[in-house]
Every structure is written in structure tokens, then in C-alpha cells.
Amino acid sequence: MTIERPRADVVIVGLGWAGSVMAEELTRAGLEVVAIERGKWRDTSTDFPPAIAADELRWHTRRGMLQPMSVETTTFRNRVGQTAAPVRSWSAFQYGWEVGGAGTHWAGMSWRFLPWDFQAATMTRERYGAAKLEGLQVQDWGVTYEEMEPYYDRFERIAGTSGAAGNLNGESRAAGNIFEGPRKRDYPTPPLKDTHWMATYRQTVSDMGYHPFTVPAGNLSQAYVNPLGVAMGPCTYCGFCDFHGCGNFSKSSPQACILPVLMRRPNFTVLTETEVLHAVKHDDGKTAKGVKFVTKDGEEGFQPADVVCITAYQMDNVRQMLLGGIGTPYDPRTGEGTVGRNYSYQTCSSVTGFFPGQKMNPFIGAGALAVQIDDFNGDNFDHSDLDFIGGAGIMGFSTNGRPIQNMNGLRKGTKRWGSEWKSAIGRDYQEAATIFCQGTSMPVRDAYIDLDPTYKDRHGQPLMRLTFDWNRNDIAMTKFTTDRALEIMREAGGEDIMIDNQSEKSWNPYMQHSSHTIGGAVMGADPTTSALNPFLQSWEVHNVFVVGASAFPNNGGYNPTLTVGALAVRAAQAIHQTYVNNPGALVEG
């Protein structure tokens, strides 16, 4: 039997941040919206109240909130010509799962990208000449920071982001990030407080002439009521934040910020434990007529809709395009086709030091609790004599001190077991502190994603295959920024220093620490190099919008969520303000 659902104006595939933001905009505009989510309904009181949330084994070690590989995984290889293998166990990939998606378990670092990140190609050519881009596939986003500003502002207001402005209408402010693009108004809530390590880091980098600021956070520094009328509570620095749901209504998330309002709208419906298999196109191939789905009991069904919004995790957005025949698959040999093009990661390194006799009290933490300098991020420093573009945010962080996660946080050469481990871990747990470099990633021609020829998911559909390794530019960038972090750690007084520069070895998903996997369905002004136009509308199937970090043509030295949220607001407004009145391409290709 096939379930035939009533027609909707808009169907949303995946109810995480992007899906929730878009559904809120679209239902407020009066459209009938159905969201389809393959995970379960999840909410604060029923699934992660304080008595359940503070549980490292369940949520971090066993990753109770992440999409299991048995539901869907990714295959991976470094180069074309190799045979990809499936990711069988937990790795750097932290795909969202269940209502709220990755927006429930994320850490909360709430960045606007730099103006340069959106126009890296143009600005690099202008400042250094075209030769600086050689070997890279860098391309502008088709939207500028200035155009994005109102949408960043809207998402910050919904999320309640805590921070201090560093550039208010062009006026530089030392409490914030002086390198940020101009913002029209300050953050909704003030910055979080410093831990011991953050205060040490702040003083050190300030003495070195850099420009420290508190990382903007989706862990709220105080109570807040957002524009939708939803009240949030203050963050308690509990240390069970990333990978966990927040029992205090303090972490920006669909549950804490949007769903209480969205769920009460009569023109909104959610189908849970129901997985979209793929979009279905009309016979002329120019538009989609809806999506085919399968319930948890294996019943197939069809949801007709005038507009299809694909708002799953980055990797799945690209997969949905390929499975539904939305756009032309990318071929790295010819450089033609766009779906799967410009896959990038997040180039990271860390420097850990030990501070003898000190009490860092690392258990005091929040997912986004950190002090950063952006002096070496983006194009905030002169690259004339450097053999790379881009950079990294360099932060001293206090995100967590959970014991299992930190049980190997030992001085180099210390045994991980026996009495040696037992006596060392209590000391090193308190004395360790880490500086993290979160870097840009630049696209290259042979880093891409496509459908795997061998491995299938539980419904028999092909898995995504990732072909990726570090490129020359990003290796050079992270060498440079890691050296800066090392200087800071020495200046701060850290001893027995250990460096983890991930780009020194071939990339594989078990070696990495960042879940920030981006690109593959990128936005842009040129339909020959981008799958989506600047409103995240498919160039080829105009009633399909694909919203997520999949749209980033290159990665900034920042966490992706705020940019995803801002793009979601912008795409949804384009749909209800323009598209539904006059369906067709919003931009001439």
C-alpha cells in the first residue's frame, strides 16, 4: 500500500535548524507546511531534562543523539582511483538525527563569517593577483556579507546569541571581534564569563598585541525572550553541552527557540520516524511534484508539494539532490556538473600545554565557552609573502571536562593504564589547557562527493562517497597558524607542550576532531560552477531549495551554524515573498 498524503504548499526534508527556521517563516506567511523527519520527536522535558542530560556515557561516548551509521553512513577515500570504505563506527561525522537535528546537540559557537569568506575569489585576486588562487577552485558565494547582515541579525535574535559587538556600523569596539563585518546592532545578550584558562589566554594574547574577544555563544549568558515570544534560561556552565541536549533551555536550538511556537501553528505538520527517499519530478523535469517517503514500518508514501525544501545535514542534502535527479552530478575529471562539487572540511590543529600546580577546573564549561583571536583568520593579515590564503580562529577554550572524553589527556609518554595512569590523570586533568586553531578550507577540483557504487543504506539506496585529502593551501595555512598558537602557549607558560596538527597526515574521518563538513551543493552566481543560485534555489529544478552548509563554496575559519541559519531565513523569505507569487527562477542563470 502506498500512503498518499494531502498536498502541502511546502514540504521540508529534515527538521533541524534549517528546517525549523524555514518552517517558522513559511507558516507565519500562511503557507501549509509539512516537515518530514526520519528520527523521533524529541523535546527538553521528555528527552533531556537535567536528570537525563548530565550523562557523558549516553550522550558523548555512545553518541545517543547522533545519527547511527546503521541508519546511514558515508564511504570515504583519499583519491580518485582508490576503493572507498564505509565509515562503520563513530567518527568526526556527527550528522543530526531526530527532531532538532544537529541543532540539539551542537556546541553553540555562533559566528558570522567574515566579508572575505563570501568573496574569497574576488578579494584575493584584487589584493594579491590571480596567481594566488592557482590550484584552488575558489569561487564567490553570489551573496555578500552586507546582503547577509539582516539575516544573520534575525537568526541571532531567534537564537539569543551571547556576545559583544566588535564592529557596530563601522565603529570598532575592543570588547568584541574588531575584525568582524559591520553589524547593525549589538548581540541580543552579553558575553559569557571567563574560566581560569580563558582569563589566562585573554591576558596572554592581549600582552602579545592581539585582539581577544569572547566567542559568540548559543549558550545564553542570561535569561532572554526571543522575537517569537519563547523564553530561554541562563547557561549554568554545566559542562554537558556539545553532544548533549540542554535541560536548562539555555542552548540555542530548535526545541528552545522555535518549536514551542511552530508546533502550535495549525498550518504545520511533522511526520516523524519517516524517511524521505527522494524527490519526484514532473515528467518535464523542470519541477518536483513532491517527495517519496518510507515509514518506520516500511510503508511507502508520497507527499505532494508545490515547493520542496531539502534541509538535512550537509552530506544528505547533496545525496537527496543526486537521488532525486536534482541538478547534474559533478565529474572531477572534466570539471563539469555541479552536484558534489566543492566539498571542503575544516582545517584544524591544537596545541596543549600543562601548567604545573594550577587548577583549571575544566568541568566548568559550555559548548561555546572560549576566548579567541581573529588576527590570523581569513584575510585579516597580509598574505603577500605567504604561500596560502585563509587562516584560522585561534581560541583558548573551556568547552568541557568530561572524564571519559579526557581520560587520555596526559603528558606525552604517560601510560594510559595501570597505577601510572591513575596517578597521572588526576594531575594532568587539572593542569592541561588547549589552544585550538579552527581554520578555513579551500576547495580543489578533486575533492568531491558522489554516490558510492557498492555500499547501500537500510533502504537499499546508495551511500554518499567522499573523496578528500588535505590540499597544499590548507596544509600551509595550518602550519602557519599552529606556529602562532605554539608561540601563545609558550608565552602563557604552558609546559610539556604537545601539538596535534591534523593536516600532517592523510585525512580520514577517525583522525579528525571537527564535524564541520561543507559544500557539495554550493550557491553561486554562475550555474556552471554552482548547483544553487544565491537564494539556494536549484538552477535546474526551480521549486527545489537546498539549505545547509552544503551551500558553502569554501569554509570560513568558523563553526557553520549561524551562517546556515541566516541562509535559511533568506531562502524562506525569498520563497514566501517572491517565489510563491510567481514560481520560476529567482535569478537569471
Binding site: I36, W41, T46, P49, A51, I52, A53, A54, D55, T61, P68, M69, S70, F76, N78, T83, A85, P86, V87, R88, W90, D194, H196, A199, P234, T236, Y237, G239, F240, G247, P260, M263, R264, T269, L271, T272, T295, K296, D297, E299, G301, K359, M360, N361, F363, I364, R402, I404, R416, W417, G418, K422, S423, I425, G426, Y429, Y455, N508, Y510, M511
Partner: protein, 246 residues
Amino acid sequence: MNRREALFSLGAAATASATLVTAGKAQAEVIKGIPAATGISPDHLPSPVRRGGGFQVLTRDTDRQTLAAVFDRLIPSDANGPSATEAGCIDFLDAQLAGPFGSGAALYLEGPLNQENDEAMMGQPQFLATPRERYESGLAALEAYAQSTDGVAFAILSPNRIDEILTGLEAGEIELPDGVNGQAFFELMLQNAREGYLADPLYGGNKDMAGWKMMGFPGARYDFRPYIERRGEDLGLTPVSLIPND
């Protein structure tokens, strides 16, 4: 019923209601409006482990004795706290292996697996076996190894000899019989022993929060606002567990 007993009975209730939920054949789960039920979702209710009960997976005496011998060298009893078995790590592991961790519920276990290619790609050995199956074959291989090299049961080897074997396994210098990857099995045991020692006592290990006391972790307090500005101080906080002590 005190709080501790109440928590244990919650876990029993969860098992009962979960079967009810999955009994009926649904169409799509359609949600309109805010779901009215405010009780904790059955699959998220705590399910405390009782120490010293019957074993569900580690039912063979030899396996438990081998495991105890390994665990108590990985985490021996000393001035910094009890041993792994004293802290309940065998109870912890048995419960873990009896649940979704043991059955590999989250893992992708579809073939094909080309060990040479896939290990090179992923930088570590790949498995189609579940953790439960890996313990079954691994513990049998450890016992067979001791019998062949020392002519006695693994569990009665001297602490020094066990340390020597564990060191060899860790370094990848000892090969176990029946194709068991000794280094990978060592890592699995080390991971799980320390998980048991450091997870909330709810899961059967970390008795009296001994692991947290050793590390200086104050547990599930969930609010450090009073302490964040006491930077660098020895706060002397007593750990708090999700499961009450009385």
C-alpha cells in the same frame, strides 16, 4: 520506596511501556500541535544496573576470570582508588554488552569488508563483528594464548606476566590465535574498563564515584555558576551522581 529504589523501578517500567509503543503498526507518525505527554520518553528513561546480579552476556566463569585479571591490571587497586572490578567494571561491561552497544546497533555492519584496503583507508582495523562477538572471540583467544605460552589459565598468571602480555598486545607485538587482532582487542578492553570506571555509577561501575574522586570530576552537578569566577581555586567539590546513594 526511597529515591534509589524508585530509579530502579523506572527502568523496569521503561521496558514494559516500550513494547506497548512498538506493538501497533503505524502509518507515518503524524504530529500536529505540541505532544501532550510530558513524561520522559521510554527510550530515554534511566535504566540503572544492579551490581552483583546475574550476568547476561559474560556467563562463562573463565571469561569473567580472564576479564577480571585484565581489568585489574588496567586499573589496579592502589592509593588512588579501587581496582576496576572493585569499582564494578565487570557489571558495567556485562550490561553494556547486553544492550545496544554490545549488539553494535549503531554500527554499519554491511559487507563487503576488504581488511587490507579498508584498514589503509581508515587508519585502523575494521570489523563486521559486534562488540559482543569481539569479546567472545577475544577472551577465548586470551585464554588459549596463556594455555599455549604458560600452560595455565590466563586468570592465574602473575600480575607481572599479565602486564607483559598487555604491553605486548598494546604495542601490536603479540599475535593472538584464531585471527583475533590483539592490539584492537586491547584497545576495546582498555576503552571499556575506563568507561566503567568513569561513567556515572548508574551504569554499574564507578562505585562510590571512585573514578570521579580519582580524577577530581564533580559529576552531574549541572550548575557551576557559583564557581566560575573562583578562578584557579581548589573547589573541593564532592561528586554528585544521577543515581542517589540512599
